[in-house]
């Protein structure tokens, strides 16, 4: 197991254990936190490369990454595959994936975008991002309408920019 492949759940457990013997494990705690951080940072960076919205903050991607990592942590095969993928990205350049410029990140992801770990995060990432109410607000999707009586009286036919009838292309 490389340091990158520490799961968040595993890391939290390690931290709790280590806290009882702080002197002996001081360095280990630091290393674990750093590994978790790197995994989350790389996952967040990967999500930003896959779904680059200028209006979404780094904190937003970080939050989605943490949710994703929490989900895959429950599935040993999935976390192994995800960690393998992050290792590929981290190991393919002079610096960790998360620290690279966006253009380099994109180039690296293009090389691995058929890998199962990327397809998995793309699919689940789309659900986590595009089911988020703040993203709906950002793109102008209004969600459930039943409680407001639908859109019948709320703009279902309010379009005002169309050319008049009779025009021809």
């Amino acid at each position: 197991m490389t340091s990158v492949s520490m799961t968040r759940r595993g890391a939290v457990r390690s931290i709790a254990l280590a806290a009882t013997i702080p002197f002996a494990c001081g360095r280990a705690i630091g290393a674990t936190v750093a590994a978790v951080d790197r995994g989350a940072a790389a996952t967040a960076a990967l999500l930003r490369v896959a779904f680059p919205h200028g209006r979404l903050t780094p904190d937003f991607y970080r939050g989605v990454a943490e949710t994703y990592l929490k989900e895959v942590a429950a599935k040993p095969a999935a976390i192994a595959e995800h960690d393998r993928g992050l290792a590929l990205l981290d190991g393919s350049h002079i610096a960790p994936f998360a620290d690279l410029p966006a253009v380099i990140q994109k180039g690296l992801v293009e090389k691995i975008d058929q890998e199962p770990f990327f397809k998995a995060i793309l699919w689940r990432g789309a659900e986590l991002i595009y089911r988020d109410r703040s993203v709906w607000k950002m793109v102008g999707y209004e969600g459930s309408s039943l409680e407001y009586g639908g859109y019948h009286d709320r703009g279902f036919d309010d379009i005002d920019w169309l050319p008049r009838a009779g025009a021809r292309a």
Binding site: V49, A50, F51, P52, H53, G54, R55, K106, V109, D113, L122, W123, A126, E127, I129, Y130, R131, V135, W136, V139, G140, Y141, E142, G143, S144, S145, L146, G149, G150, Y151, H152, R154, G155, F156, D157, D158, I159, D160, W161, L162, P163, A165, G166, A167, R168, A169
Partner: protein, 518 residues
């Protein structure tokens, strides 16, 4: 009100499935005075279970038992149909075009097409016309029989404006089985924008809250939800004498007078193929070898346009906007048959998932960033029958019921590929005419919702599975009542035709029972 029948009551007519075909046939037979037991694999929801959330409703409505595919479809989710009382009438959009006479005479109109099994329908357009009338009245189809059309929403107005600039003229808000006025104790459409997740106000026709309760009110109908049929059992005389199903882990057998299978194509096929006997070694009613063959689904491709102004396409009835001009037979276009152009919206999530098949990154997010400026259209076209497209049973894989997993095999015919290529260009032109900033063509990624052809009707028992009334050639009291019956697919949504055929079949069955033949 609702009846309770004894398992040994051999006078009941058993209907398997409660959707467009099964729900309608059940009610019609009960109305005509016959005792009916309807076995539905899924649970019975009520309108209060329907919420405006696609992800939640997908889990509640969809048939999620394991299926496999080879060829073009998604290998794990080839078909999108429902497992719930009401069947796929919960998920459907409500679009009710009739099959055109030229399409019912497919072979005569198109001529022989290589590698297809094109035929003319054994039911003539003249014969089915009054049944279409009856089905439209029953379902409350807009723009027919005096019912007003639905109002045009933004996505429809964009489609209409662009289409008119391209010279198209046959345009309106479609013939929809969605109330445009209060009717049938159901309210009119409120433009919720969640048609395919179950209509939360019940404005859209679904057998769950139309045919099923009406059948129950006769006192001659019993719905048994969560009943997965595994066996259709023949007596020594070669007729069906009972049906066996799994209910809460228990195997139950109901005696019967006759049976109709309306499980939507995949389940209907699986049930027949999985019931092998000495008499039918290749599956029940399969002496022709055609059960599960000639599987058809329409292509459903999309074009999205980033328009110069806001559209908010999520705010309207999904498919209430149609251009019919390309649904003609005009071989100069390079293919036979035609297609419909309808409106379609997507939620951000589904749009992203469909687009992701083509890529990720800015190609994806630059479109999603303009979500409120998007207009969307759906292109749905005729799919010729091919013997090689079909549904088989996996030799070893089993689902949660212990039943063989169905394997769907499907490939596009060259005619379909030519029609799709043309249709994408048509869709693109419509939005270009209005100055779209960006246009996205999306492929055939939605799992098939229109399923047809695997127990085709015909007069020749060697070349078809069912008679023109949907009775199997091989078993005198076994019927099929879903899209499996379609000999060809036509270029339009199949539900209205399924309902019309079920009504016609009910009259036939009623006559047979009264004549002492069933």
């Amino acid at each position: 009100m609702t009846a309770r029948f004894n398992l040994n009551d051999s006078s009941v007519f058993v209907v398997i499935g409660s959707g467009a075909g099964g729900g309608t046939l059940s009610n019609e037979l009960a109305q005509k005075g016959h005792k009916v037991v309807c076995l539905e694999a899924g649970p019975r929801l009520s309108l209060t279970d329907v919420v405006n959330d696609e992800a939640v409703m997908f889990e509640k409505l969809t048939w999620l038992d394991r299926r496999m595919a080879t060829g073009k479809p998604d290998p794990n989710f080839p078909v999108w149909n429902c497992k719930t009382v009401g069947g796929t009438t919960m998920h459907w959009t409500g679009a009710c075009p009739r099959i055109e006479p030229y399409e019912m005479r497919a072979l005569s109109t198109y001529g022989p097409l290589p590698d297809t099994t094109l035929v003319d329908w054994p039911v003539t357009p003249e014969e089915i016309a009054p049944w279409y009338d009856k089905a439209e009245v029953r379902m409350g189809v807009t723009g027919k029989h005096g019912l007003p059309f639905l109002p045009a929403g933004n996505n429809t107005k964009v489609l209409e404006a662009g289409a008119r600039m391209c010279g198209y003229t046959d345009i309106d808000t479609h013939n929809m089985a969605i109330n445009s006025v209060p009717r049938d104790d159901r309210p009119p459409c409120q433009q919720l924008g969640f048609c395919t997740s179950g209509c939360a106000v019940g404005a859209k026709w679904s057998t769950l809250y139309t045919e099923i309760p009406k059948a129950e009110a006769t006192g001659r109908f019993e719905l048994r939800p969560e009943s997965m049929v595994t066996g259709v059992n023949l007596g020594a005389d070669g007729r069906v004498e009972s049906v066996t199903y799994l209910s809460k882990g228990r195997s139950v057998t109901q005696k019967c007078r006759a049976v109709s299978v309306a499980g939507n194509v995949v389940e209907t096929t699986r049930l027949l193929l999985n019931n092998r006997s000495e008499r039918f070694p290749n599956g029940l009613a399969n002496s022709s070898g055609l059960v599960g063959r000639n599987y058809m689904r329409h292509f459903t491709i999309q074009v999205m346009g980033v328009m110069p102004g806001k559209v908010n396409f999520h705010r309207q009835t999904h498919l209430a906007g149609v251009v019919r001009d390309e649904r003609i037979h005009k071989p100069e276009r390079g293919f036979v048959g035609g297609f419909l152009i309808s409106t379609v919206p997507f939620t951000p999530e589904i749009l992203a998932k469909n687009m992701m098949i083509g890529g990720w990154g800015e190609d994806l997010t630059s479109v999603l960033d303009k979500y409120d400026h998007l207009a969307g259209l759906l292109l749905t076209g005729e799919d010729p029958p091919q013997l090689s497209n079909g549904i088989t049973l996996h030799p070893t894989e089993r689902d949660g019921y212990g039943l063989p997993v169905p394997v769907v095999h499907y490939e596009d015919h060259p005619n379909t590929i030519a029609m799709k290529t043309y249709a994408w260009k048509v869709g693109r032109r419509i939005y270009e005419a209005l100055g779209a900033e960006k246009i996205v063509e999306m492929g055939d990624f939605i799992p098939a919702t229109h399923n047809m052809g695997t127990a085709r009707m015909g007069t020749d028992a060697k070349a078809s599975v069912c008679t023109p009334y949907g009775r199997t050639h091989d078993v005198a009291n076994l019927f099929v009542s879903d899209g499996s019956l379609f000999p060809t697919a036509a270029g339009c949504n199949p539900t209205l035709t399924i309902v019309a055929l079920a009504l016609r079949q009910a009259e036939h069955i009623d006559g047979e029972i009264r004549a002492g033949r069933l």
